[in-house]
Amino acid sequence: MAVELGIPAGVAPETTLATCPVPWPHGPAQQFAAGRRAAASALAAAGSADRIVPRDPDGRPRFPRGFAGSISHTDHLAVAVVAAGAEAVGVDIETAAISPRTAAFVLRERERRTLLAPAGAYTPRELFAAKEAAFKALNGIGALGDFLFWRIELDQSDGALTASYRGEPVPVWVRSEADLSFAVAIRR
């Protein structure tokens, strides 16, 4: 996939991003390994001496202390984002087409009416990625418990997208390149 991902505009400049292609046969093992390679590169760029990201018992990647990070992948590309000093980071990349039925499942009527084009500036895939990224950033907050990513609510103010769940907000940035949408959520 010939896509050059970059940090979306507005994200703190000390945030680092790295990508790694997923080799054939593009299965879960290859996706996992590519994600860890991307995470090691993002950690190196952020100045972390520790570049190992083990998997916690719940399946989440455990980044080194002081370097919040997140990993996402498709069948062909893995991406990792690290934000030194942040409380939590979430990243998501999506290439799948989001059908109107799927959009209706994950987006509330208000979100569809105000955020999707033509009234809003976003595509269904961008908002899907935004909710997934926000979920990863918020899911580590113990008080919120276990929840489903589509319960997160999206709002826009002054051109900025904010996700929230049970009153806990996190800003989200999205951008699209070619046939891929990319979202980053950083909680400080």
Partner: protein, 88 residues
């Protein structure tokens, strides 16, 4: 299948596997996942999970409640158990 027909857990699990095969085609790492293994850990992306949930609404004639517990959506077995409980 009618909304009132009795249905077994095995029948629901088989139908869910058929839906997964429809969604994933030849990707047997997902369509052959064991009943109790997490679908996400088996490699099912979130977009595909939502597509499966939508397809289940059509196949089994129900709508997912907003407050469904995440654990219900974990595996083929937990999904099937939910459908059977609704139809019971």
């Amino acid at each position: 299948m009618s909304d009132t027909a009795a249905i077994t857990t095995d029948e629901v699990k088989q139908r869910i596997r058929e839906l997964l095969a429809d969604l994933f085609g030849s990707d047997r790492s997902v369509s052959d996942v064991p009943d109790t293994v997490s679908l996400r850990e088996a490699g099912l992306p979130s977009t595909a999970l939502v597509s499966l949930l939508v397809a289940m609404e059509d196949a089994f004639g129900f709508e997912w409640d907003d407050d469904v517990e995440p654990e219900v959506l974990r595996s083929i077995e937990s999904l099937a158990g939910h459908v059977v409980a609704l139809r019971g």
